[in-house]
């Protein structure tokens, strides 16, 4: 690392065994042009204070482990760079709206349960044996859901969502995007099973259209658009139910 400067990083610290509330500690970290914020934290852990706790793994913005608040904005620390904040300083905190486990690590359980609740797997019209080969799916059909399949479950959108902050019962951006991903897949007919989840009070209707989730999403998933499309579908679904038996709108 061709070091050329130092920057101040202020980090939220909280230890569940000893602290009654969080506090902040400041470290000085040398950095070069290519030093990521994550590498800054790793420097602290390696050299200054081995007790600093945070999650990371891939270093390439694909595993979704390293989301934190950097100066109040949800971001992936492995693809944000210290130089962008120099000569100012950084304040790093755990993702907003989620319970702190320790220091910068948040509890992901609520999200994982929500993810599981939307039946995030293909529910096929009829079972097809593997020996019969793949389903046909044109690039246009794939395009309809692909963007929503690119979610890395980093939870930045949950930290951005004011509605989730108020009421963690809200299904939230990424889970709704994933629900929309499966509903829009030409191989899937599970929509009728999933729509009751959407229609429930904590589904799409809780969203107040702030759109900040899409702004912070590092993968262009645009969860806000999935939420809105679900609102439209949800209305249609409601309407069709008076006209035809359930499932006939497929």
């Amino acid at each position: 690392m061709a070091t050329h400067d130092e920057i101040e990083i202020e980090v939220l610290r909280y230890h569940p065994e000893t602290d009654s509330e969080p506090s902040y500690r400041t470290y000085r970290v040398p950095f070069a042009h290519e030093t990521s914020v994550l590498q800054g934290l790793q420097y602290i852990k390696d050299r200054l204070d081995g007790s600093l706790t945070f999650r990371w793994s891939c270093r390439m913005a694909i595993c979704g482990s390293c989301g934190m608040m950097i100066n109040g904005v949800p971001n992936l620390t492995c693809s944000a760079f210290l130089r962008e904040y120099h000569p100012g300083k950084l304040r790093i905190e755990p993702l907003a709206h989620l319970p702190i486990e320790r220091d910068l690590a948040v509890d992901q359980t609520d999200f994982l349960e929500k993810l599981a609740s939307i039946q995030p797997y293909i529910i096929p019209a009829e079972s097809k044996a593997v020996d019969e080969g793949p389903f046909t799916q044109t690039p246009a059909q794939r395009e309809r859901f692909y963007q929503y399949s690119e979610c890395i479950n980093c939870l930045l959108c949950y930290a951005a969502c004011p509605q989730y902050g108020l009421d963690s019962g809200f299904l939230g951006p990424a889970a709704l995007a994933l629900l929309h991903r499966y509903n829009s897949d030409s191989r899937d007919v599970g929509k009728a099973d999933r729509m009751p989840i959407v229609n429930a009070q904590e589904g799409v209707w809780a969203c107040t259209l702030v759109g900040y989730c899409s702004e912070v999403c590092p993968k262009g998933v645009d969860p806000a658009s999935a939420v809105n499309r679900n609102k439209v579908i949800s209305t249609l679904d409601y309407f069709f139910r008076f006209m035809a038996p359930r499932g006939a709108s497929e």
Binding site: E34, R47, G50, S51, S57, I62, S65, E101, S149
Partner: protein, 587 residues
Amino acid sequence: MQIVQTDVVIVGGGGAGLRAAIAVAEADPDLNVSLISKVVPMRSHTVAAEGGSAGVVQTEDSLDSHFYDTVAGGDWLCEQPVVDYFVANCTREMVQLEHWGCPWSRKDDGDINVRNFGGMSTARTWFAADKSGFHILHTLFQTSLKYASVHRFDEFFCLDLIVVDGRCQGIVAIEVATGEFFRFEARAVIFATGGAGRVYPCNTNAGISTGDGMGIAFRHGVALRDMEFVQYHPTALPGSGLLMTEGCRGEGGYLVNKDGYRYLQDYGLGPVDPSPRPKAMELGPRDKVSQAFWHEDRQGRTLETPLGTAVHLDLRHLGRAKLLERLPMICEMAETFLGIDPAEAPIPVRPAVHYTMGGIWTDGDTATNLPGLFAAGECSSVGIHGANRLGSNSLAEIVVFGKVAGEQAARAARAAPAIDARATTHEAEASMQSALALLGQDGDQRLADLRDTMQTAMENGVGIYRSAEGMQTACQTLEKVRNDYSRVRLDDKSRAFNTEWLTVIELGFTLDVARAMAYSALQRTESRGAHQRLDGYEKRDDEHFLKHSLAYAVADAPPRIDYEGVVITKLPPAERVYGGMARQEGH
């Protein structure tokens, strides 16, 4: 200590572990599965795989051709019956993933699309843009949620196996959030713990790829096979080691030196076609392409960059539209990490450690030599990669053999004798005490220093080219680090979410893996695949070394290295031929 009674424990929530979990659930929904992973499964390293996964589909392609490419690519150190099974089952597993929703890239008519990959005679690599591993992993994870018998223990760190009466009867784990110990009693255990790229300083791997499963199994007398074969991927970013997938070259990218010259033509990989033909030039196998870099570097024909010398991966001629369709993540990474638009400028790249060809010895059915223990995925050596893995064979491996492991473990669990609870308690207590001792110990050594010393020793002594002297120095340094390890002092003495503690335990495993690699390498006095020597052993020596190495742990001494023959059924050893003279598809 908390106790969990279960039928099958699977350690690892990557592609291999998840595929195994689904296989157990499908084989017998009455078996209780505990899926243990130190990260939430979709964070596993499989997520980072970019290029794609092999499976014969084109009409002009054949299983024989995939077999030939794999065995020749592995420099004949492959178990041929296992390769046979592998190539015959890849496509089936790719279709299975498709049925589960994996968004494979398609042709205009809606059929599966395939791309070229290094060392493969024809296009047979299934891809989902350049996020193939990401989509495979999320598809498997989401699909696994369907199965009620699969119970996840996310962020549980496996510390040890419980072995009683020569039989594996469970594992000991630490719950990361609380630091509490758990004893899992099981009738069968599958290790799917991934690779060990973190043995080296500059690697393409995630932080979690520390070789834990290999280290744990090794300590229990299980053999680690072919550990000297460590793959350098030729195209990683200098410094960070972040990967620029071989798919870049599969789509037609060039490698050029500082003079803009496609230098691979000087290393027996020509002829120079405008778009490289299979097995030639940029589509040569990884060992040869990385070795060519080494020579260019020696001769001063590489570029200086702030983070080391490099050559250029030039994608400009592919055009922006194709780059965005086929290699969107590469474009994003080049932009984020280098500030480069690959449609406008070439990407500086150099080799970095990427893949562990060797691993926990298993038979073709994924059984290790410890009854009750199975292994699959990158942590295992089932015998298909030999001395050099072909790109796109390992994503296929994790699902093909993940499934086998699940089925075999289900069978073993049903047949296993009752668990001896008293004896397992005793064993688990002992592992717990040694982990707690690390937490409490006083000393003068810093974790990061030991890690850095180990990694540098491996890069310097057991790199792309090797000599006895360099390897001996590496071995000596590793023994010293091993001694110093007992004097590591942690800053953090608490229990809840203590990642410093877990990292020091991991380092212990990584260090054992490094030793197995270095000593196996030192004793192989020939050059084959990814193991290339410069000290008078530059040639392949089939007479003495058409053999797998087996590293066994020895108490307080270097590992013992044994050898085992290679099962050759239909393709006798021959010269590996690439470039214009290479055998093409459907031979």
